[in-house]
């Protein structure tokens, strides 16, 4: 399928898109933390992959795609940094801004456990967003996407020692960040309680 796509078969490439789009979108969302930006990064990733399919030398197509989407997310983060946007906050009946952007979700219709789970996910994403870009991409590749050190090193283009160092420091920062959301953590995952 990859070879057919390299020969210019667009249908073959679209089958690859269908197989990897969840992986790419998930990685993009964890990197940028926004759905719209993740959508843009995913779209540009597949366009760039199709245009540069000739440079794929074999190996892990997944790692190759993750490298492209990581670079697309860096571009998206830089673009967002140059043109910071104010998120559209909804107003309540009194004309006050609703604090949470998750105003579309009605918590009354969800079980308490799901609400807590969503809050925990936002807390983790918040801590990921506070990481430096290099640390973030490394920890997402290893802990979210499940790549081993060698694949992560191939994807990022750094030695394994760099991956080890970045991963250890990223996890340490995440631990310190999540300590501020101890009330959201499940009982078995509360940090500092052994």
């Amino acid at each position: 399928m990859i070879q057919a796509a390299r020969d210019g078969d667009l249908d073959s490439f679209n089958r690859l898109v269908l197989a990897y789009q969840d992986l790419v979108y998930n990685h993009a969302f964890r990197m940028v933390g926004e759905e719209e930006s993740a959508d843009d990064a995913t779209q540009s990733t597949f366009i760039s992959a199709y245009n540069h399919l000739g440079s794929f030398r074999g190996g892990s197509f997944k790692a190759w795609l993750l490298r492209i989407v990581t670079n697309a997310c860096y571009d998206e983060l830089r673009r967002r940094k140059r043109r910071p946007t104010v998120p559209l906050e909804p107003l309540d009946d009194a004309g006050e801004e609703v604090e949470s952007a998750r105003w579309m979700v009605d918590p009354a219709n969800q079980p308490e456990e799901q609400v807590e789970q969503a809050e925990l996910q936002r807390a983790i994403q918040h801590c990921l967003d506070n990481l430096p870009g290099d640390f973030r991409s490394t920890v997402i590749m290893v802990d979210v996407q499940g790549l081993d050190y060698f694949e992560a090193a191939q994807t990022i283009g750094k030695p394994i020692g760099t991956i080890k160092s970045r991963l250890a420091r990223a996890r340490l920062r995440l631990r310190d960040c999540l300590n501020g959301f101890a009330e959201l953590l499940p009982a078995g995952f509360r940090l500092g309680l052994g």
Partner: protein
């Protein structure tokens, strides 16, 4: 006592949790874990953090990201931005080079572009001429006659320098010298005979009219002009023309063009200005205070060409046209419109080039900025 957990320890913890340690490292690390409760506590917290991130839900793509042929072939406008940026940078560098080059060009003295004086004897001749003029009384210059220096012997191979040397024993006085050539249609023998006859007649006439003291040099070769004043070429236009197009005197050896030169009557320095431009019209170099002179009919009747002489490299001993650059250095400005036009053309060419490069640099830079802003 609490052991200090180092960055290396956290790397070992992460690698241990990810099963990335070798057997020996793993065994050593497990030994430390058993002995160090603080290290064990950190291991548990890092492991919880790792699991929290790992258990994040796997998001599904909100839509299908199929690639269409139109999307693939869409022109990437962002790629044009660096192209225009490079164009702007290159134009800026070229502009700087052109400005530097033009500055060097305009700051160089124009004398440097003129060829060196070919014969040293010319300077000697001019100096003798200057000394001779300086020795003449000023009162005589007020009434100095206009003396014609003709070039009757076209076939004579003797250089022009020799002609002046022959006449340097004459009484010095400031003169107005007319230089011209005979048409190439005349045969040398005829010209020589006619010239001899003409010189004798004119000498007698001039001596009768002005007296012997009025003929400083080469009296037999001079024609006496009529006292009718002529209009001087000094005018506003000519001054402007000279201020623009005056260039250093070129090599005087190949100047067969008839030249009319009038020396100042007040200053004793005679000016003999040769030109290299073979024009059929006699070139007149005006002095600051020109003496009213009359162009003798002999000059007007002679058709000046001299091209054959120029190509042959032979000049008559009486043809004073080739006497070189007699004016002291730095004081003479020879009129050479062709060279002046070339210099002016180069100047305006450089100016146009600078303007064009500046426009390209500015426009390409603005386009690059606009493309980058539009691309976000």
């Amino acid at each position: 006592m609490k052991n200090q957990i180092t960055a290396r320890d956290y790397e070992l913890i992460s690698a241990y949790l990810d099963n990335q340690l070798g057997d020996k490292e793993r065994s050593l690390f497990e030994t430390r874990l058993n002995a160090d409760p603080e290290l064990r506590k950190e291991l548990h917290e890092i492991n919880k953090t790792r699991l929290l991130v790992h258990n994040l839900p796997k998001l599904r793509a909100p839509r299908n990201y199929y690639i269409t042929a139109a999307a693939v072939r869409a022109p990437p406008t962002f790629r044009l931005a660096p192209v225009f940026g490079i164009i702007s940078a290159v134009a800026s560098v070229l502009l700087a080079l052109v400005i530097f080059g033009s500055t060097f060009f305009t700051s160089s003295p124009q004398v440097a572009m003129a060829p060196a004086l070919p014969v040293a004897d010319e300077t000697i001749t001019v100096q003798q001429e200057v000394q001779r003029s300086a020795a003449s009384p000023i009162t005589a210059t007020e009434a100095a006659p206009v003396v014609m220096m003709s070039a009757p012997e076209l076939a004579s191979p003797t250089p022009i320098i020799g002609a002046l040397k022959l006449g340097q024993t004459e009484n010095p006085t400031s003169t107005t010298v007319y230089l011209y050539a005979y048409p190439p249609t005349s045969t040398p023998e005829d010209v020589f005979a006619l010239n001899q006859e003409h010189a004798e007649i004119t000498q007698l006439q001039c001596e009768e009219y002005y007296g012997d003291g009025a003929y400083p040099t080469l009296s037999s070769q001079y024609d006496c002009p009529s006292p009718t004043p002529t209009s001087t070429p000094t005018s506003t236009f000519s001054q402007y023309y000279q201020s623009i197009f005056l260039t250093p005197s070129p090599s005087p050896t190949n100047t067969p063009t008839p030249t009319i030169t009038s020396t100042p009557t007040i200053t004793p320095t005679p000016t003999i200005t040769p030109t290299t431009t073979p024009t059929t019209t006699p070139t007149l170099t005006a002095s600051p205070t020109p003496t009213p002179t009359v162009v003798p009919p002999s000059i007007q009747n002679i058709v000046p060409t001299g091209e054959a002489e120029s190509s042959a490299g032979i000049t008559s001993p009486n043809q004073v046209l080739g006497t070189g650059n007699p004016t002291p250095p730095g004081q003479e400005r020879a009129v050479n419109p062709s060279t002046g036009l070339n210099v002016s053309f180069l100047y305006y060419l450089l100016l146009a080039l600078e303007i064009s490069l500046a426009a390209i640099a500015i426009i390409a830079g603005i386009v690059a900025i606009i493309l980058r802003v539009r691309a976000g």
